[in-house]
């Protein structure tokens, strides 16, 4: 486990949260502390241990392929922060093309 400082701006970019300079400083410090504590986990010998993703070991929970009810279109669109006709509208998506 690395002991380097967490690159909080990079992480915030991944998480899509804009941070103020003050938050960068504060969260950076707090997360650093928390990770220091998390490193105590490395005292644990887990060599022969598998990872637990779920505590109750269910398998093969699936549904039959049958059609059920959808939400009413208007109910859906009333939630929209911005709509245009039957569509949700968002500001331009620039990351795809040049």
């Amino acid at each position: 486990m690395s002991s380097d400082n967490i690159d909080i701006r990079y992480v915030a970019k991944l998480a899509r949260i804009e941070l103020t300079d003050d938050e960068v400083e504060r969260f950076g410090r707090q997360l650093g502390d928390l990770l220091e504590h998390a490193k105590t986990l490395h005292e644990l010998d887990t060599a022969a241990v598998s990872a637990t993703a779920q505590v109750v070991e269910s398998r093969n929970v699936a549904r039959a392929d049958a059609v059920g009810r959808c939400l009413e279109h208007e109910t859906v669109m009333q939630m929209a922060p911005q709509r245009q006709g039957a569509f949700f509208r968002v500001p331009r998506i620039i990351s795809e093309d040049s």
Binding site: L34, S58, V90
Partner: protein, 492 residues
């Protein structure tokens, strides 16, 4: 306050089913109590007067038609991270401040179908992240036993509402202790069933592999009654367990003969101070007096609970909360392009604790750190399961404190880590998915205060051991009657 509101949920249901009182009368009493005290307490974010009356009318009609409903007319506080169609469901966040759920969570639907009356949506720490309710972006909830103190969290609103007789049952959700800790702080029984027992469908996710819905109540019997109704397989939740639910409310016991209770060596209470230490020692002796055999057990991984939990839960939450992006519902803060819109919306919509956990979780999952943090924590989680398995070879139940202190004053835990420490005793059970509850076990006088504050005894059972757990808690509760020794002055 109307005497009706002091009745237990079991008694309300009995009387409504018998026709001695109508659901409408109970509901009016509950709404009157809410109107009388909630201005001071702030347990609810949304009061549901209209819906409650309509629901009561329907319950009365069903009773008249000859139906028997296990929760007939029982006023319920629904934590605001559970969807209830047509009502505002905020999760205590600015992100969802105006969002009206178009569907109902399965657990809520089961309660309502059993005759319960939704009287309000209860305050909570934002996205269930916190142990004091102070992280709610939408309101401040006070502890009915001392208005200067927190009600606990994250299910603090539900706890305060039930403690202050604003509801007979509270629905809570518990990820690392969010039912048990506020129950302890508010002199209630708070019960987290085995992971997967109660459907999570419609529960706004914090950490999917840990979240579990459960009841808060003023007695074990009431908690068992609510649990019996909400538990069971739901086809809408893949992780809900397909396993018969044995009724708990009818299996309650009055003694603990033949029950081996494990006391965790690593959970020594001396470090909590002499007053708290002696309170728990007395509680363990009370268990013994009821016929239980006390045995020492070890949970060698226990001290790694916080480190494990504060990697797994944030990792899952960082992904679960990605959907709050300003595109389809909830808050949007506009931007030049979609990316800027996302970043501004999420900066504005989430409070500091939520941001902290999203950031730590994003980091723990990111390339280069995944194995060191996330996978390591999952392996530690396996060790928790193994620890408990070994411990339960020697005992039937485990007893421990539910929280390391009584309810604290507002702003007393300003740094995140000291707040995280509140969940020290509850987190190991959460990591292992065990059923666990908190039951009132007496009072301590916090430093500089003249008001005795309640404490909770945590009991935990092996996976799916709900019936034995509730049965034992009932025996302890009936024999000790701690909850009755103090009144919540804030409710009166």
């Amino acid at each position: 306050m109307s005497e009706t509101m002091e009745l237990s949920a079991a008694e309300i249901a009995r009387r409504v089913n018998a026709g001695d009182i109508s659901a409408r009368e109970v509901t009016d009493a509950a709404l009157a109590q809410i109107d009388a005290v909630d201005g001071r307490l702030g347990a609810y974010l949304t009061r549901l007067h209209d819906l409650a009356r309509v629901s009561a009318g329907r319950v009365d009609a069903r009773i008249k038609a000859g139906e028997h409903l296990p929760l007939a007319g029982v006023p319920v506080a629904v934590k605001d991270n559970m969807c209830l169609a047509g009502t505002r469901t905020t999760c205590g966040s600015k992100m969802l401040e105006g969002w009206v759920a178009p569907y109902t969570a399965t657990a809520v639907a089961r309660l309502l179908d059993a005759g319960a009356i939704p009287v309000g949506k209860a305050n909570m720490d934002e996205f269930a992240m916190g142990s004091s309710c102070e992280n709610s972006a939408l309101g401040k909830t006070r502890n009915p036993y001392d208005l200067g103190r927190v009600p606990g969290g994250s299910s603090g609103g539900s706890a305060a509402a039930v403690a202050a007789y604003e509801a007979a049952i509270g629905m809570g959700s518990d990820t690392g202790g969010s039912i048990r800790e506020p129950a302890a702080f508010c002199n209630l029984v708070g019960f987290k069933p085995t992971y997967g027992r109660v459907s999570r469908y419609g529960l706004i996710a914090f950490a999917s592999s840990l979240d579990q819905i459960g009841p808060l109540a003023r007695s074990v019997e009431d908690a068992a009654l609510a649990y019996d109704v909400m538990a069971g397989k739901d086809p809408m939740d893949s992780t809900s367990v397909d396993r018969p639910v044995e009724p708990a409310a009818t299996a309650l016991r009055s003694d603990l003969r033949g029950v081996r209770v494990g006391i965790v060596k690593e959970f020594g209470t001396q470090r909590l101070g002499p007053e708290i230490d002696s309170l728990y020692r007395r509680a363990y002796l009370d268990l013994e007096r009821l016929g239980a055999t006390l045995v020492d057990v070890e949970l060698p991984t226990a001290e790694y609970g916080l480190a494990t939990y504060y990697l797994i839960a944030p990792a899952e939450c960082s992904s679960n909360l990605a959907r709050f992006d300003g595109v389809r519902y909830g808050l949007r803060v506009d931007g030049e392009d979609v990316g800027q819109m996302y970043e501004r919306t999420r900066a504005e919509g989430f409070g500091p604790e939520v941001k902290r956990r999203i950031l730590i979780g994003t980091y723990a999952l990111s390339s280069g750190y995944y194995d060191a943090y996330y996978v390591k924590a999952q392996k530690a989680r396996t060790k928790f399961g193994a620890d408990f398995k070994r411990a339960f070879e020697r005992c039937d139940l485990i007893a421990s404190p539910a929280a390391s202190s009584p309810a604290f004053a507002f702003h007393a835990k300003s740094d995140p880590y000291s707040m995280y420490m509140m969940d020290y005793y509850t987190i190991p059970m959460s990591l292992a998915g065990l059923p666990a509850l908190s039951v009132p076990c007496g009072y301590v006088l916090p430093e500089g205060s003249s008001r005795p504050m309640p404490m909770g005894l945590q009991l935990a059972a092996p996976l799916f051991g709900e019936v034995q757990l509730l049965a034992a808690a009932n025996a302890y509760e009936c024999a000790t009657q701690h909850a009755r020794q103090q009144r919540p002055e804030g409710a009166l």
